[in-house]
Subunit: 317 residues, 3 copies
């Protein structure tokens, strides 16, 4: 029997065996496309190619979605998972350093996924061990598998990564998913529209980077008419804590809610994405809209993580 | 080799493939008997017929017993489990709706068991997904696998489900296990005795139902002499929180404790059941009494859940 | 193919099938050596000889290290794990007795590992069930797998268990790992040096035992010059809570820190062990010192537990 994974290019696969996955910045364009192609092959793949392998999932802050998605990916390929879902039950509560935790845990597993509230924690972990470390989100910094699943979703929904007009809506200042995706889209021919309140604009540093990379972008404060010119609207959660004045939050919350009436205004071609969980940013009346892609986007997380775990653990040789 | 599960009637088995298990009310009598017969075949069965399948266990309130019982059942058949043991580590803490959680989690698994503090939550979950959903207890409402394991235990201990005199003791007002079991016993020829303090009587609605279904029942406030006429005494935990006056609780607690001396009064035919955990309702001096069935009852939970998971996940085709 | 476990002596192996592992005191010298020899065979062994078996891990207090180490050991041999990582999510919160919890959980599993804050809890658990129970630490009492991995580490690092001069440093009053190891070393020809502040001396009862067993020991308060005569220095964590006066703690903490300069004083033969987690007792500048054995010691925990689980679950027959 021929497996859908049989003809994965081995030279590129070998680049990922044992590799740390800390930031999408470390991927060349060729590697990104390879990861997305490989993920496509894993979409319906469920064979136990990682039987006997153990992933340690170290979640120093809770993230059910990311944790369960990695766990499902590992289990779908026959592997095992151990670890903790929150800091409270780890030795860190006794004052242990992250480096020590990693050096102990490496003996329990073949790879580590780490989620940590502090920027740079994943890098520290990767330097402490020879086991491959996957960053499952480190503070406001990076979350490479989120970026990969976002790119995968864009290609699945639109059939391409070039010649797209992509809007980002909501909290562009603190949204880690947005930052990573914007940076990575610089590999492709895209036009970017940044829609946010003044107080939640994309950081200057990232905008300067877009200028240097010759990525066309503009900033808006209102959804309309901006959304009329878009292929994709990537919506994000706006957190109440970001606003000193609760009234400002209430105003922004209602203005930036995406719903069926918006689609009535802009037409049925606009694809809606969201990293989830959502609160009020997307009205549930949009869930049946054929181009509401956010639940498919969440499901793509398992697909992308299956491919990445298989590669990193040397399951494809 | 012939498997003990080979000659399970396939027409009935097919009715359960992919089916939601929300309330025992939805089972026809024929289906209940089929489930108990199937469970019997799974009693010592440990083959990996669910290898590669994933059960998501979403426990929005802790219930170690139910969670571990489902986990054991799934693992005994070679399947995997992922999920969370309490609400704190789920995305619900970020304000996500139950419907959204289910639509995301469905991508991680093949079936879902949900425990939730709110009545109706399991139904909401089932409507949000095409994956089979098993209700692991939703507030004061239903807990179908508890009812099945109770019925299974009665049949194992007494050899029959008809022509039995069954007493229920303790908190009959709030006890979900009692409500579901009483309702389901209406399929069989039983006489029911309800023993409780006035303040914890079975709800009127349930009593009216018994009248309509022509189930003979009577109400008592003292264990004796009522227990002399019983085949089974189903004891339940009385929670302190139900009593505005702590003294009332203390009185009820001591009056309703079942112990070895009670057996001395009523004879060695009386079977004692309890959904566990117990606190003071059953004196540990009763644990060696041959018809103290409560630990076997707990063990039957794994047996019944193995059968149900195999059926719902299409492991028997 | 010949397995490295094929020629394990079956008569000794049979002594451990189904056996409770509560205290290292219960091991004869011959059994200890057998366990260490068997562990050595399991060092790189990863075959699924425990497929279909379930270990219940009941952690009534958190201990990430012990829990994950057992979990890794079980998974490396193809077995499964279920349980809880802290008391909060167990039925104990509802007032259930330990005995009841065990009698229910035995139906879910083939063996139980229990961690409990109270001395004697593991024994109570073992008496409640026919399933083998492994003590994963019960209060200040015993932690047999820690003792086994310590002995295993000593033999791996030094090539022998006899003719060794072993120092214990730090909190010798409350340190459970130290107590168990000291007692067990009485089977071998060792000289023991006990280095601690006056207030944290080894309990008199243990010292009397050493006298009876004719084990040579001496007590010191300073690391130097004592450490010059040692083959191994076993360092332990000193907990702030042990000191009524915080200043005393600060003084002890700085005096008892082991670092590179100590090795400069005593020479490159001294092996450093620590049960981990460490806080300040060992300076990270020692981590690259070839005889800093503490991370290898932690890794040996998986090796020893693989052997023990295989034996207790009858995986070697």
């Amino acid at each position: 029997m021929t497996h859908p994974i049989d003809d994965i290019p081995r030279d590129l696969a070998r680049r990922f065996a044992g590799r740390d996955i800390i930031s999408p910045r470390e991927f060349e364009k060729e590697e990104i496309l390879f990861l997305l192609d490989t993920a496509k092959r894993f979409e319906h793949f469920r064979e136990p190619i990682l039987a006997g392998r153990i992933l340690a999932a170290l979640f120093f802050e809770p993230s059910t979605r990311t944790r369960l998605s990695f766990e499902s990916a590992m289990q779908r390929l026959g592997g095992r998972v151990l670890g903790f879902a929150e800091k409270g039950v780890s030795s860190v509560a006794k004052g242990e350093s992250l480096r020590d935790t990693i050096r102990v845990v490496e003996a329990y597993c073949d790879a580590i996924v780490i989620r940590h509230p502090l920027e740079g924690a994943a890098r520290v972990a990767a330097e402490a061990t020879d086991r491959p470390v996957i960053n499952g989100g480190d503070g406001a910094n990076q979350h490479p598998t989120q970026t990969l699943l976002d790119l995968y979703t864009i290609r699945e929904e639109k059939g391409r990564l070039d010649d797209l007009r992509i809007g980002f809506l909501g909290d562009l200042k603190y949204g880690r998913a947005v930052h990573s995706l914007v940076e990575t889209l610089a590999h492709f021919r895209v036009e970017i529209t940044l829609i946010s309140p003044e107080s939640l604009r994309l950081p200057d540093q990232l905008k300067e980077q877009l200028v240097q990379q010759k990525i066309s972008f503009r900033e808006e404060t209102e959804i309309l008419p901006a959304a009329r010119d878009l292929d994709i609207l990537y919506t994000t959660r706006i957190q109440k804590e970001r606003f000193p004045d609760p009234l400002d939050y209430e105003r922004v919350k209602s203005v930036y809610q995406v719903d069926r009436s918006l689609i009535g205004e802009v037409g049925e071609e606009l694809t809606i994405m969201h990293p989830l969980p959502r609160v009020t940013e997307i009205n549930p009346n949009l869930d049946d809209y054929p181009r509401a892609a956010y639940f498919r986007q969440a499901a793509n997380g398992v697909t992308v993580r299956k491919a990445l775990l298989a590669l990193v653990l040397g399951g494809i040789e």
